[in-house]
């Protein structure tokens, strides 16, 4: 099946930069109430050189959930750690567009890096939320840290959930 590529399985088995670290500015805890996936995520921002905007000095996490949500947290850390905040929001925008494209957007490796591994997830609406959980936590943490995340806004509605009675 095309959902579980080697890249996703690798990240799920060996999540990169996992574990909660000090120092940090904000910690958030997000859950997917339909399935109980949970993530705790911390961000640590520092001012970049010459007013270039903040840099993500550290993003650390503790993820408990399915392979898609754990791998997504791993890719988030790998792609965003140490980069200017604005660049990480661009990555998010491209990844979000790919995940909510129902499979029509294969993803741009230049923009989303290992995130292209999640292109197959877009064809399974119930799993899109799993892939977006770490990113929702990340955006929430940035907002709570007082960062400007307006450039992350997407026009696509959020993914449907798989809840029922």
């Amino acid at each position: 099946m095309d959902l579980y590529g080697e890249l996703i399985l690798d990240h799920a088995r060996r999540p990169q930069h996992a574990g909660l670290r000090e120092p940090y500015d904000v910690e958030v805890n997000h859950v997917n109430p339909t399935c109980g996936d949970e993530i705790s995520l911390r961000v640590h921002l520092v001012e970049g050189p010459d007013g270039a905007g903040p840099v993500l000095q550290d993003v650390s996490y503790d993820a408990l959930g399915c392979s898609i949500s754990v791998a997504s947290a791993s890719v988030l850390a790998e792609e965003c750690l140490g980069r200017p905040l604005a660049d990480t929001l661009t990555t998010y925008r491209h990844l979000h567009a790919m995940l909510t494209s129902k499979g029509t957007d294969p993803g741009d490796p230049e923009q989303v890096g290992d995130g292209v591994a999640f292109a197959g997830v877009a064809r399974y609406p119930a799993r899109v939320k799993c892939a977006l959980l770490p990113w929702s936590a990340y955006l929430d943490a940035l907002a709570r840290a007082g960062a400007d995340i307006s450039s992350a806004s997407t026009s696509t509605p959020s993914a449907p959930t798989m809840e029922e009675r």
Partner: protein, 440 residues
């Protein structure tokens, strides 16, 4: 009810083929032409053609607003709706006057819970005799008892009732192997309500209601039963007999081969008479003046607005379908499926089944975990093979916490489920350890 279990036979191969032919959806394919293996009937069952036909017939021939209108169609619609109520009553072994149509099981449980907080309003219990008025008065010092294996629908409304009234919520625990602990350890002098499921939607545990009823009766507490997972599989007429000790039960149409949008509340007549209404508006009134209103007698008192007539008619067709199959045989069939599922999973030591290991104590469902593979991923692998199961906490989060698993995978059954489908499920499950590289 277990007396039918020994006598009745499960459906044979030919009978099952005939039953399956009644369910149009089962013929479709999924995920690139794979035959559908639908093992999610505990979430919602598929519907036989007679149900779809009954709804269509109602809309094509008799549609009108029930209990209104001075014309022939209104008469026919009302007759169809009230006829459906009588069918439900027969299915329950009860009187039609004790049957309230709700939109689903959740609404029925909320109707019961809100009766207590609404009873606190001035004048709400006027005309109710003191014994019953007292049973509906809930406040600080009083206790509501649920169990740790409840679906959120039979937990959250009671949490909220306690929050509104100041009463205390207590719960009967669950053993490691998925049985209810001794209810008499929790039910006490202050208990006014005991709300319990008949069958766990996760573990399939067939709850022994006798000790629950005995503990509640000893202290004069009301007993409410969530029959959503038992009504599709068991003869539940024993719950409504005068000696059952059950004061009210709910079940839902869409899990019982019927349409969505219709559920049933059955309650003792005196309880129905004593409880204040839940939703108010048209249909449920006796006299309305600008200053205030009085209520119609039950069951109309609890059916505000134009009711779901077509769905009620569809539900009646579903219950007639089950009755024609014979609830003793429906139960025997479910037992044989549960036994088969437990047997094929026992051949796979990497699968850990949750709940009772004795199939005789189970109804309708088998939930399990595969260590090292999240249930979502298990469900995805099964889905890829055309096998539909439920994954997650199945609206029973506290139960999963109690069993120390974040989530589980559930295979659940209905009258159309075959042993071969369970074999196909097991074969598809074998791919999960291969894909995720855990010992299998």
């Amino acid at each position: 009810m277990t007396w039918g279990r020994q006598a009745a036979e499960p459906f044979g191969t030919e009978e099952l083929a005939r039953i399956r032919a009644d369910f149009p959806l089962l013929a479709r394919t999924v995920r690139e032409d794979r035959p559908l293996v639908y093992l999610d009937s505990g979430a919602t069952s598929q519907k036989p053609r007679v149900v779809l036909d009954a709804e269509r017939e109602f809309y094509e021939r008799h549609n009108a607003a029930v209990h209104r209108g001075a014309h022939q169609l209104a008469e026919e619609a009302t007759e169809a709706f009230e006829g459906a109520r009588e069918t439900v009553a027969r299915f329950l072994g009860a009187d039609a006057g004790q049957v309230v149509f709700t939109k689903n099981g959740t609404e029925g449980l909320n109707l019961l819970a809100y009766a207590f907080s609404n009873a606190a309003a001035p004048g709400a219990l006027d005309g109710v005799d003191e014994e019953w008025a007292d049973r509906l008065r809930l406040g600080p010092g009083d206790e509501v008892v649920v169990t740790e294996m409840e679906h959120h629908a039979n937990l959250v409304p009671w949490q909220e009732l306690c929050r509104r009234t100041g009463a205390t919520l207590r719960w009967v625990g669950v053993t490691d192997d998925g049985y209810l602990q001794d209810p008499s350890a929790v039910v006490g002098e202050r208990t006014k309500v005991v709300a319990v499921t008949h069958v766990s939607n996760v573990l399939g545990t067939h709850v022994d209601l006798a000790p629950v009823v005995a503990a509640a009766r000893a202290v004069g507490a009301l007993v409410f039963v969530d029959a959503c997972q038992s009504a599709p599989h068991l003869d539940i007429t024993g719950l409504t007999t005068p000696e059952s000790g059950v004061d009210a039960l709910v079940f839902t149409g869409h899990k019982t081969l019927g349409p969505s949008g219709v559920g049933v509340l059955w309650a003792r007549r005196r309880l129905l008479e004593a409880m204040p209404p839940f939703l108010t508006g048209g249909s449920m009134i006796e006299v309305v003046r600008m200053e205030g209103s009085t209520w119609a007698p039950p069951p109309q008192k609890f059916e505000a607005g134009v009711p779901m007539a077509a769905q009620a008619v569809g539900l009646a067709a579903a219950l007639d379908y089950l009755t024609a199959l014979g609830m003793d045989r429906v139960e025997a069939h479910d037992q044989s499926l549960v036994r088969h599922a437990l047997a094929v999973l026992a051949e796979r030591p990497w699968v850990r089944v949750l709940g009772p290991t004795d199939p005789a104590d189970r109804v309708g469902a088998v939930s399990f975990v595969v260590d090292g593979i999240h249930p979502h991923d298990v469900g995805q692998v099964l889905d890829d093979a055309g096998v539909a199961v439920r994954t997650g906490h199945h609206c029973a989060w506290p139960l999963h916490r109690r069993l120390r698993v974040p989530a589980s995978t559930r295979a659940s059954f209905s009258v159309y489920t075959t042993p071969e489908e369970i074999d196909a499920f097991a074969a598809a499950l074998d791919r999960a350890p291969q894909i995720f590289g855990v010992a299998g």
